[in-house]
Amino acid sequence: MSDGPTLQISPITELFRGDRVALWATTYNVDLDLFNNYLLSRLGEPPLNVVVIADRDRLDSTLELLPPDRLASLGPVNRRWLLRGARLGTGRFHPKSYLAVTGRSVKLLVGSGNLSTSGLDAGREVFAVFAAGTPQGDAAIRTWMSWMRRIVSELDDTMLAERFSDLEERIPRIDSVSVVVESPLWHNLDLPLADQFCDRVLARGELVDELIVTAPYYDETGDALGRLLMRLKPQRLTVYTAASTKVDGTKLEARLAAADAEVRTFAYLPEAFTHAKLIGAVSRDHGWLMSGSANLSNAALSFRAGPAGTGNVELAVVADLPADELRRAFLPPDTQAEERPLTSLATLAFEPSPDASPVPLFHISRATSLPDGRVEITASPPPDDSLRLADHNDTRTLAIGSGRAVTTGVLAGPIVHLVDRANERVSNHSIVEDPESLRRVLQSGEKSSASGRPSELTTSDLDTPLGQALLYLQQNVVMDVSETAGSGGGSDTTRSETQESDADDNLWDRLEREKLGQDPRAGAYARLIRPPASVELGEPLIELLDAMRERVPSEHSPEQTLLRRISGPIRLDNPASGTPWSTSARIRVRARNVLRRWASVQTDPRLTWVDPLAPLGNLALIAATFAQLWRYNAEPGFDAGLTEDDLDDLWLEWIRRFVGTGQGDGLLSNSVLTEGEIRSRLGGDFARNVTVLCWLAIRPGRNRRQRIVEWQPVLRGVLDQDLVEVGDDTVEFLVASGFKVSADAVETDILEALEFIDDDLWCAQRSAELALAGLELKATSAGDRTGIRIMVDGIDDPLHDPRIPALVVSISRYRGTDTVAIFGKNPDWRLAISGDEPIYYMASLHADGVESEHLEPNALDSLAGAAGVIADLFPASARSA
């Protein structure tokens, strides 16, 4: 065997560092004391997403052994980090993987070591290491994330799913994948690992020279190894063992002796429990090495895992290696391999499963501490009311209903179990989780959410009235649902992969609904919208704006300090009286970005999971804010932070999403409330603010036509939703904002804007309507008739294009003439229509003209209504001209 340097890894040093923002582990067993007392403290402070998923039965056995004196050692479990037991199908949950995430890096370790001192530090274990930023690393991490999503989905646990969504958000974006490679990480949810390995090896089409294996556990008779031999048919088999290798050595010896291969056996010296699992195949100078969690058993190698499978859940890593390097990988550092005769295998003994403890009648998969100290459990099968829940001190009856089982009194934990009427324990022990603590650990630190400022704003922006208003909105209502719920489940790749393989994705929707429903800001909408009508949420916002305005050095001296009145609900970061607010052009840019982002996400259906009327509530608050800013802009010496153009622009962004363009395409068209209900529940200010802002958008002045044209479809939607209401308060508000108008003028302006049309607008509208490349109108005189000429771009065959009749009817109505000449721009055909006279058509400028039949009255109207073509009006001989 060739010598060479052996690279080693210290998993504890590699994984558990202070800069981690997330650490996820899968393991068969977990050393809770080590994790709580040492490893966790190495990870540093929150925000920190730590999850360990271990084999369910093994975890139950561990908790079973825990004496009452040791319960305090569970302190951080399910409070600072989440522990879950997993069982998919009948096999064990056996993968050993560790994903460590920092703000800029991701590292994945997949190997043989469990989350224990022997697994991560002291034992003979191997790990493959992947780092994001390399093609193989990125591929492995993607596979792991996709695999984990499936695991999480199968476990159907919203707390776990919430943390997985959080993990997806914490994974830094992978920018520079230059090469797409096959993932070196394999799982067995779809295909047994042995199949994958044999397929990979045999795909090369060469004979297998050597199969090399080592593992601590075999099937009793070495059946899985026998299957590998049958499929790969190696010329030679090399087996590494330790005295602790668990297999019926006599039977294995017999099996190998009968194999059609030269067999060599080696013993590791010095003797020590060797937990690494390695399977290598060599053809000539090339090798394939599979490492990971899979022992040499059928449950690990030969069977598929998952809900319908009978195998263990395993993870494996395959590496293509030169043959020498592969052989070297089997030798631990400071260890020798001594060749032994095949008969030496007879000293090895098989050990049946050590976890053969009796299965309890019920299994508690989750126990959650409620804010009032009661405990809710999720158990299988669901418990009935004859059962009670107990910790080590108390026993409580369970209230069963609506699919929930909740104790009727406080239960302190930290672990609970079910007892029957005879006080006999009938379930596993489950560690009670504290959802609030778990969430706090994720949320600590600066993050743009309810607790922070909008991400676009800087700290100094909060020294402006506009910044404070945006902060207030951020803190009191849910403007952007993705800040609470996450991006919707991470990368599209992983989600779609999951959906392909697993149709039931309800868990993720349930998770998001649960998270959004728990957002403390959700309650604001009940106060804002629910009857009786109240604007208590909006008023502080306006008062805040007023207060900010009063602190600006200006001619306006407030008669009373509104700030004092509102200081309760509103926090001012810089309340030193008389301190001038610093304004800058940059806040304007950033505030516009915030408001545009918020506008763009109002149609996110998840927002209604916060509250069905959340979008409407947001609109009401934004309308109030914009209206108020218009007023402040009118005051001498006051810069509200957004210009008039900004406010027009942003209001358009907001309102059109709600009212649409008169085609029933706005959010309000599908609202559960009627127009009247909307107005009554949001109060008169809402209609006034909408009216004011819409009038201001089409107010007389610069670029008015352009604004009217832009706003016309939206105004139609506003009127359709009956949101315009011109009253005295409208006029008062507009006067206060610097516009001296009457109520009639406001109403007239809005209606005129709605009906406004001119040639250019008509052409633009018709072009859009008929999907033409261009339209141009020119007035003409044809004898004693005043006619119109239209230049059309985008129709090749006017005789057979149904848009021609529609165009003719439309122009006739618009210009009140029945004399129309239509010129094609490319190609240059001609059509002349005049009353009931035959239509004259030239296929091109230089072609001979043809005439239609005499037209019946309203013939073109009929054609347009029936989407017909004018070719029907021409003799058959002319139709092909």
């Binding site: 890894i9 004391d33 007392n37 004196d69 290491v129 994001a132």
Partner: protein
Amino acid sequence: MTAITAVGADPQPAGTPRWIASSLNVKEGRDPLGLQTTTQDRLMPRLLPGILELSRRARYLSFHAYLLDRYRTLRLPADGNSLSTFIKAREWEYGLAVLLCPHGCDSSPVGASSLRSIVHEQSETFPRGQSVESAFGGYGLYYRSPLAELGIVARAGTQLGDKPTPIDVLRDTERARHLTRTFAGAVANTEYVNSWMLTSDPIPADVLVEYAEVACLCQLRVRPDERDAVQDALFGQDDSAGQVTPEGPRGDSFEGEADRDQSPTPRINSDLSPDADRPTDDLPAAVAQRRLSVAHFLSLIENEPRVVEDEGTYREAMWSASSFRSSAHERVAGQWAGLIAKDVWQDALCSIWSEFCRSGFEASSIGGEGLTWDQVRAIASSLTGGPPALSGDELVTDLVERISRSDVSLPGLDGSVHEAELEAIRDSTDRLDSATSGLIALLELHRRASERADPGWLAATQVRSAWQPSISAVFRDITAYLATSPTVAEMLWWIVQRYVLNVHERIAYSKLPEHTFRFRWEEGRVRFYNNGLGRFPLAAIRQEPLSQITRDLALWELTTPSEPAKPQAVLTDRGHRFIEEWLQ
């Protein structure tokens, strides 16, 4: 979301498995139950503030003060590295001189282990070098903290005037100046000081011998002026520090509540640790305590001269002191008795710990797996094999009764436990290393302690560590537990559970990545490690420093060999005066 940057290429093909390497450094750990720290970090700094276990020679105080003064007057660079180099070089030369002492004193200087081999070569010249590797040499290790605590040195960072000093400097006090002046006066005419001190050439042996003639550690006791200066440094105070009388020091070293039973949050290495500079306000209390403790030690010499040479004798004398010259004397004697009791408790518990670890390791080796809670309990309960063997079913109250009837002895102990000296009992259990000997020692200590209630005793026995309760609390717990009529087996389990199982793991976890576990809970089972299954030592309790320093100060001397046959310690007139001055 942040973007990932590409990482460097791995030297191995992707997916190649690597064998793991340990990041935990397996070590024995010297204080697995957190008992040494009570002595080292809590009791000793209070009983004898300003004197560390290895700050044993009084003359190093004046020597180091002299070095700091020379460094300043030579205007050498005001940075720590330069000062460190300067001190270590001078300590090297001083160490050579001490080993060449023409008075034949056989003193052991700082760095003696490496210096001895050089001296043995008997060269005509000696190379230059540095005393020890660590920063500031022996000064940094043994004398810096004491000098700072005594108010002689202002450590780097101390605010002097309007800015902090960048290096250690002498305080501008008469005590500090006196200290420097007297050592400087002693060595002023040596060739070493005048021609060799600041050079880097090899030093001729005769230069060092001449230097040792006046500068050796042994010469302090014959240089009255310098001796007074050192004594003043140790037991005096600057005028500004306020007056202290033996009857009423301005404060009590045991007054601090930080690590007494009442404290909700005990601290380790707190401001009471020997390495910390005390605030000026504490100085009078520290000075008074130092005077009282040293005077008490001298008073023991009067009754038992062997306290200067034998730690066992010293312990027993400290425990059994019974004639007092004043209430202050009784108080300080009670404090030291509390320290001794704590050591007996430690050794008794250590015997139980030691046998428990051995038995646990043996049991877990058999099955290969860890032990369940019930198995651990069974092991602890069955630690009755001795010696001496006890019945696990015997009521502890019956055992106590047998001890009090003098029916119980320990192998190797002359007479019964009831009549034996406490130190002999401690020594027996230390030697026997059995759980039953530990239990018997503990029960006898508990009985004897119940007879004490003097203020000094109460103050010292209420001091606890971050890991273990005070012995006062231990005694209370035992009293309460005995009232439940436990059997020997039950009490052994009670002790293991209360003072061993729950403590050791916490300590060992706090020391990770140094793996000092003797046992550990792993997945619901206790796994034992062969990581030093034996006993752990007692912390030093200043027997040697007290002996050496008081002898250097000529507070006692050895009688001449002829009468009596073996020289023994006797107090000098200065020693008597010292006792009279501070204990009356």
